[in-house]
Amino acid sequence: MTYLIDRRLQGKNKSAVNRERFLRRYKSQIKDAVGRAIKGRSITDIENGEKVSIPVKDVGEPSFGHAHGGVWETINPGNQEYQKGDLINRPKGGGGAGRGKAGNSDQMTEDDFIFELSREEFMNYFFEDLELPHMVKTQLTATTEFKNQRAGYNMSGTPSNIHVLRSLRGALGRRIAVGGNSRKRLEEAEAELEQLLLDGEALDAPHVVELKKLIHHLHTRLLAIPFIDPFDLRYSNRIKVPKPMTQAVMFCIMDVSGSMDETRKDTAKRFFILLYLFLKRAYDKIDVVFIRHHTAAAEVDEEEFFHSRESGGTVVSSALHLLDKIIEERYGAGAWNSYVAQASDGDNWDNDSVLCRQMLINTIMPKVQYYTYVEITDGPPQNLWEQYSQIPDHHANFAMQKIVTPADIYPVFRELFKKQPK
């Protein structure tokens, strides 16, 4: 008795558990890799899977085996030149002819064990440090909402989607096209018959009978053309498109004076990424503008933003002036939702901080949706912090936080995440 069984629908993802076990075991290595990836990647490119590599010796499954040494006598195929008694040099690197096949067959020659993390897995590791509330995580990882939209017509579909007008128009066209020849001949025949009768030809004259027969035949043919054919049917086509949402612009402002070292920049980057991810859920199109500043501010690309290093003092207001200018020039007139994320170590020239506060309260805050500020320092608050602390009294859409580790970032966004994105 033989059975032929279709197993394709059963047992999908049976390895999911084993995969999860593997990730669980190498969690620390994977987290390192994710950390490196966050550093290396562009902010806008954060939502992809990642290739993770782990040194082979760490994932190895040891077993007893022979190492090279002692006496090995092996049989090999494909002798071309050797005679018994020939002496040959050892192949370099221990491989090749003299090498025994014994030992651990699982041994890989590569140095690293490389595999891909899926997007979800990658995002989970990314969120893990940030200690986001669960709801926020699902909000960020959720796939975009779609809406159904008309997209022309289709040859196939469900009966309820039949588009009557289109179908009949098609049928009419087909009837005209298919019947064209017969109709033309019919008209000719009828005209000829009329002419003959006018000329006084007898009704039973063979010529007339022939013509009548032909006219009858052509009529039948024309009637045989179906009024509507399955071929004519057109269905309204609907496709899913991501819900269009309004556009947003995100400003990243960072102090790049000498005191911002690599770790601080890395923390700042995570802060920017998080804002970006949030915006990405809420808006379809996001522009990201990078403004860096020391004593003067400049708009730069992402590469330069994170990797160049300047020294010297800090004048925060220079960045705010530039920000205001860019909003006015490119993102004004209410067509854009502006979000600002500012990161700094808190240093500023004393009299500049007051200026910053005034600028924010009077000029900038009314123009932006949300302004977030993080001060990456473990020292005591400096003058900028003190000045900024007064802003929330005037504007509710301002959040600030002093952070030491990435886990401190989230509170900055608390207000932002509380609101459901429209």
Binding site: Y3, R21, I75, P77, K84, G85, N89, K101
Partner: protein, 516 residues
């Protein structure tokens, strides 16, 4: 039927001919299978009942990353194999193995959905008739595996280990399995014959065993003080009285600190390892036999007109790839291809039976001119790779493969060619090649030597050196795993053939992880 029959024309179409198409359907697979079965039965292949299962590529990867069984317990290492297989497959670096067959009754063979009809027929002939008859006939499989019970046993193992994970935590189970896997090749009885057990008995005896084994161990490790004169009177009896080759068995029975559930898990790994032991010893024969039969069966179908030219071209292309043996200096060389060697030997035996030359009559007087089916059947049933090669490798094949022996002695500066395919070399090459397939030589010979029952309970393993070959780098790691299972210090002595201890390795078990 037509008036052109007198002209040269293609063979008349067989009434049950398979259509020339590459898409398969269930009906066509059924039809192909009927034909293959008919031919296989005519050739006298004796098989378990077949169960053909259509699976997806993902399921195929899944099956061969979890030791090729339809069910298996969960472990990170299977996840690792899955990840690397998936990576290779998605990048297109590697095609998937197109067949997996499970030594069970009924014999389960997987057919992958993306294969063409030709490939499905090839897999059916290869796996469902070739491997299947080998599983049923070969003495190693008959002795060591119980085809009826294995799937049930795997289900039992999966459930038991899942239960242990719930009760004792994933980490505890995982570390134990890591340790067991490290020495799973040493969980095999090489000489003792097992008693067959059915699934039901196995389960019933498991509880009993837990209680009994625990009492035995307690007795062995009795801590009651003995009277001193008795102590002095006789030297401590050796334990174990004889060296034990099955490390996992020894640990399961005698490791002092393991809990009953841990012993049961050691046993599960050991049982599975034992189940796969015959496969490791019969690679050349098993693949050679299956390849020989798919070749023979499909050619028979072609001769009968059941399959057409297009089918045959596709089949031969695939078959030729499978049995290709790159020469030693090729960049693709990675040892001797078991399919190539096995297929060549099976085909050669048939040739010796049907068209023996004078050389064959001299080398194989018993089989030259005999009935090839009987001779092949006998060879399949009564040999393993090592003895099969020693018995049947003919000078003709040694010439065809251009086999040569290379002696690599680390005392000499250069490698020496010790034999080639000439009159002087045939027997030597054949003997060496057979040795190369002797598992006992391929794996280091490591056995339990003694246990210090009176003092620190240290376990001593003994590695009897073969041809002065040293142990690999991983040995230290493996020893740590052994120490974890044993619970006390573990020593590994490497001993030269003259009995002299060459080197020794030890792992101290400072602190027991488990408070007891």
């Amino acid at each position: 039927m037509n008036d052109m029959t007198h002209q040269p024309s293609p063979k008349p179409r067989h009434p049950r001919a398979l259509p020339e198409q590459s898409e398969w359907t269930f009906e066509l697979i059924e039809q192909a299978h009927q034909e293959i079965r008919r031919v296989a039965e005519n050739f006298g292949l004796d098989t378990y009942a077949n169960q053909l299962e259509i699976i997806t590529a993902e399921q195929m990867m899944d099956a061969y990353t979890s030791v090729g069984m339809p069910v298996s317990y969960n472990h990170w290492s299977f996840g690792k194999h899955f990840l690397s297989t998936e990576k290779g497959y998605k990048r297109g670096q590697m095609g998937l193995a197109y067949e997996i067959v499970i030594n069970s009754d009924p014999c389960i063979a997987y057919l992958m959905e993306e294969n063409s009809l030709t490939m499905q027929a090839l897999v059916i002939a290869h796996a469902a008739y070739g491997h299947n008859s080998f599983f049923k006939g070969n003495y190693l499989f008959r002795t060591w595996t119980d085809a009826e019970a294995i799937v049930d046993y795997m289900v039992f193992a999966k459930n038991y280990i899942a239960e242990c994970e719930q009760r004792h935590g994933i980490d505890a189970v995982e570390t134990l399995l890591d340790s067991c896997h490290a020495i799973q090749n040493y969980g095999v009885d090489r000489y003792k014959r097992p008693a067959k057990l059915s699934m039901m008995e196995e389960r019933a005896r498991q509880k009993e065993r837990e209680a009994y084994v625990q009492s035995q161990i307690n007795d062995l490790w009795r801590t009651l003080p003995r009277r001193e004169e008795e102590e002095a009177e006789k030297a401590a009896p050796r334990f174990p009285p004889e060296p034990e080759e099955n490390l996992l068995y020894f640990i399961e029975k005698y490791a002092p600190l393991l809990e009953p559930w841990q012993r049961e898990m050691v046993r599960i790994v050991r049982k599975i390892s034992q189940y796969f032991y015959p496969q490791r010893q019969t690679q050349v024969m098993n693949e050679g036999w299956a390849t020989f039969w798919h070749y023979t069966i499909l050619n028979q179908l072609y001769d009968e007109g059941v399959v057409g030219d297009g089918f045959m071209m596709e089949f031969l292309k695939s078959h030729t790839n499978v049995v290709y043996q790159p020469p030693v200096n090729s960049p693709y060389y990675s040892g001797i291809n078991p399919y190539a060697l096995g297929f060549a030997m099976m085909t050669d035996i048939r040739r010796i039976c049907e068209n023996p030359t004078a050389e064959d009559r001299e080398w194989f007087p018993d089989i030259a001119g005999s009935d090839w089916r009987k001779t092949l059947d006998f060879a399949m049933r009564n040999f393993k790779d090592e003895s099969f090669i020693a018995q049947y490798l003919s000078p003709k094949l040694i010439r065809e493969f251009h086999f040569f022996a290379v002696l690599d002695d680390d005392n000499n500066e250069k490698l020496a060619i010790s034999a080639i395919h000439d009159d002087l070399g045939y027997r030597y090459v054949r003997q060496q090649l057979a040795e190369q397939y002797n598992l006992g030589n391929r794996e280091p010979n490591i056995q339990v030597w003694s246990v210090n029952t009176r003092d620190d309970r240290a376990l001593t393993l003994r590695h009897s050196q073969f041809q002065r070959r040293p142990l690999n780098q991983q040995a230290g790691e493996v020893l740590k795993h052994v120490a974890r299972l044993w619970g006390f210090d573990v020593h590994l002595d490497t001993v030269a053939p003259n009995g002299e201890v060459v080197s020794t390795m030890e792992v101290k078990r400072e602190k027991r992880a488990r408070g007891s």
